[in-house]
């Protein structure tokens, strides 16, 4: 900058300087978050909005350029077809509800049981905490799903242990249990949250109860569970959302068979979108799923008033 410009700057009001300073610091802030921001706008928000638009079209990928617009708006046709003319749609809804109703509570119970086991002061407990968390780290992966296929095969581990000859993948009544047990086995992340919650419960409560003669079950039902309800609530919401979105396991382990009994909703969305290439229809299905998940989450939140107990909340209500 030249010297002659200096006085002009000095003459300018303090306010302008401050405004410029504000703008500068904001700019720096935006620059710092720009990698995330660009990623979010480009790879999350834009596709989300695009899929909302696509759900009202008959866009089918093959030979149609989405930007050139050689597809038609079909109004609510996709939704009408879904609800009234798609036999498999309701089968997949049924399979998904079936899955969520069994997999989520079972996983939470199992996670809580393991968390209580690991919430003891024993030698090597840190090692076990890490070890028991591992299945969840690798749980969503293809390798584990393939392993699950192996152990549920006719001459696999499960039939050997049970001494049965069950066709787990072919029997319409049993196939879902293959997926549910896999979900239960991936208890790691709710387990960690439970563990953190358990460590928050003051030990003196248990001591007091013990002195009063409460046995293990009484302590569990009267102290642990009530004080843990906020954690249970958090886990229930997260796991329910997660349960509606399961894809990998169904895709690899059962492929939706037999009789579409394990055709989890996201798998059907994938089949419509990437096997039949009916992107418009698949987008419509995905948005219905979003609304459904929001609906169930709201119900859970509404119900929380009845059963979730926040410590130190008493004074408010």
């Amino acid at each position: 900058m030249s010297n002659s410009a200096l006085p002009a700057t000095l003459v300018g009001s303090k306010r302008r300087v401050r405004a410029r300073h504000w703008r500068h610091s904001n700019l720096a802030g935006y620059l710092f978050i720009s990698p995330w921001l660009i990623g979010y706008l480009l790879f999350a928000l834009m596709p989300i909005l695009a899929s909302l638009m696509l759900s009202f079209t008959n866009y089918d990928v093959l030979g149609h350029n989405i930007l050139r617009g050689d597809w038609d708006f079909v109004g609510l046709d996709n939704f009408e077809k879904m609800f009234y003319h798609d036999y498999r749609y309701w089968k997949s809804v049924k399979a998904t509800l079936n899955y969520v109703v069994f997999a989520v509570p079972l996983r939470l119970m199992f996670a809580l049981a393991v968390a209580m086991l690991l919430n003891t002061k024993r030698h090597g407990v840190y090692f076990y905490r890490a070890a028991y968390y591992t299945p969840s780290v690798v749980g969503g992966s293809v390798a584990v799903a393939l392993m699950w296929r192996e152990i549920f095969q006719r001459d696999g581990l499960v039939n050997n242990i049970l001494g049965t000859e069950i066709y787990w993948f072919g029997n319409p009544d049993y196939a879902m249990w293959v997926l549910v047990t896999l979900a239960v086995w991936q208890f790691g992340s709710p387990m960690l949250v439970f563990l953190a919650g358990l460590r928050q419960i003051p030990q003196d409560m248990y001591e007091a109860a013990s002195i009063d003669g409460a046995n293990f079950f009484q302590r569990f039902w009267r102290i642990t569970i009530p004080l843990l309800t906020p954690i249970i609530f958090f886990n229930l919401v997260m796991q329910t959302i997660n349960g509606f979105q399961q894809f990998t396991q169904a895709f690899i382990v059962t492929g939706g068979r037999p009789l579409d009994r394990t055709l989890l909703y996201p798998l059907y969305v994938y089949n419509r979108g990437f096997v039949s290439f009916q992107m418009g229809y698949a987008s419509a299905m995905a948005w219905v799923l979003l609304v459904t998940i929001a609906f169930f989450t709201l119900i859970l939140f509404a119900s929380s008033r009845l059963w979730v107990y926040y410590q130190g909340d008493e004074g408010k209500s």
Binding site: V61, L62, G63, H64, N65, I66, Y87, R88, K91, Q153, R154, Y167, F169, G170, N171, P172, G255, R257, P258, L259, D260, N271, F274, V275, S276, F277, Q278
Partner: protein
């Protein structure tokens, strides 16, 4: 500030100036030819060997290839199509040729035949016709195969049952399957009799096809043959002469190695003829398999036809269509290339290539060649390519709404067949 802006501007200008110049230079000297195919590792190795040979003879053409399994292939290529970056050459399948052509994604090969780039004089009219839509050639067949019943010859001997007649009927099939099961205690037939390709060729036995020639509706009037066929399947399941749907689920996704025919749990199986190579290899030394015609209806036509196993097509998004045609020509006509390819893509379509390969053929190759010769002598005419919407009928209707509910006993074959007709017609009506 100013200098930074200037620098960026200069950079942009430089890139803008250099970029087209660079591509112009390379277009004169070197070009990149893109090609995609699906298949097994064996196919990848053989195809890449041919690509290397082609590059040696045409050093200015760099062939860039991409391959995948069958399942991923169509997702990959469909995505490429919508992004308008299809390769110059794509391997195509009879089931999708028409759909892709109808969306203007495939270029006719006739101009290249006319100007001598592509020589198809060694290919028979019947085989070449399978790549034609209307009068124009949209895909050059690379090999031929046919549906077959694979027979374990030694197991037949062990059971003391004579090998079936070449023109056996479905009644014979049922009887033989039951007899084999009774004698040996294993499945007489261990395969998917409900396969969609068998539904389509079932009606070939009655002189028609699953779809009408225009591809706008189901091609048969009478559901009864389909109902009878599934009644037979249910009878065989009841007699435990074939695996039930529940049992078959264990085998459906296993490769040849786990197939009941290979593991000795069944005497017969259903395969495409070129797959005898994989079956024999998986079964190991000392086993003997033979290819047999599909059974046919009593007094009906043969249910076999010569099917192109796959095609090479030039896409409309190709940047170098002429060179693409050159490569295809090399691929099917060059003898060295044929040596590398063998019969992996089915029996080669060019007569001279077949003669060239003849002396070095293995017994299995000879069985395959013989079988296709038998089908050519006793086969039905090649049906038209599958209509647009076929994939949807197969994935969303035939398997989940017809086959599974019937085999698991939720609906009767008659109910299923009526539903199949109605639902399939809804989809096919869009082609009108």
């Amino acid at each position: 500030m100013k200098s930074a802006k200037g620098l960026i501007l200069t950079l942009i200008l430089m890139v803008a100036l250099v970029a087209p110049a660079a591509s112009a230079i390379s277009a004169q000297e070197n070009i990149e030819l893109h090609i995609t195919w699906w298949g097994s590792q064996n196919r990848h190795d053989r195809t890449i060997a041919v690509i290397d040979m082609f590059h040696e003879q045409n050093p200015n053409i760099e062939v860039v290839y991409e391959f995948s399994s069958w399942g991923d292939y169509w997702t990959l290529l469909t995505t490429k199509a919508s992004g308008e970056n299809l390769p110059d050459i794509m391997q195509q399948d009879y089931a999708f040729l028409k759909e892709w052509q109808s969306r203007d994604l495939l270029a006719p090969l006739d101009p290249f035949i006319a100007d001598g780039t592509l020589d198809v004089s060694g290919v028979s009219d019947v085989v070449l016709g399978t790549g034609k839509i209307g009068d124009e050639l949209y895909g050059l067949p690379l090999g031929t195969n046919s549906q077959a019943i694979l027979i374990d010859v030694q197991a037949f001997e062990k059971a003391g049952i004579e090998l079936p007649a070449p023109d056996w009927t479905w009644a014979d099939f049922e009887e033989i399957s039951l007899a084999l099961h009774e004698k040996l205690g294993i499945w007489g037939f261990g395969g998917p009799l409900s396969d969609e390709a068998l539904w389509k060729s079932l009606y070939m036995g009655y002189g028609t096809w699953a779809f009408n020639p225009e591809g706008t509706a189901i091609g048969y009037e009478d559901d009864q043959p389909l109902v009878d066929y599934f009644d037979m399947i249910l009878r065989l399941i009841d007699a435990e002469a074939i695996p039930s749907a529940e049992q078959w689920a264990e085998y459906a996704d296993l490769g040849p190695e786990g197939n009941p025919l290979v593991t000795g749990q069944s005497v017969m199986g259903y395969w495409w003829s070129n797959q005898i190579v994989a079956i024999t290899k998986a079964a190991g030394e000392g086993r003997e398999f033979k290819l047999w015609h599909l059974p046919r209806p009593e007094g009906g036509q043969p249910q076999n036809y010569i099917k192109p196993s796959q095609f090479f097509s030039v896409t409309t998004q190709a940047k170098h269509p002429k060179e693409a045609a050159m490569f295809i020509n090399f691929f099917v006509n060059n003898m060295e290339a044929s040596d590398a390819l063998g019969t992996e893509r089915g029996v080669p379509v060019v007569a001279a290539v077949r003669e060239h390969l003849a002396p070095a053929l293995s017994p299995i190759d000879i069985e395959t060649f013989d079988f296709l010769a038998r089908v050519e002598a006793d086969g039905s005419p090649v049906p038209p390519p599958d209509p647009a919407g076929w994939a949807e009928i197969r994935d969303n209707i035939y398997a989940p709404q017809f086959v599974d509910p019937v085999l698991y006993g939720e609906i009767s074959p008659a109910e299923g067949a009526a539903m199949l007709r109605e639902e399939a017609n809804l989809i096919l009506a869009r082609n009108k």
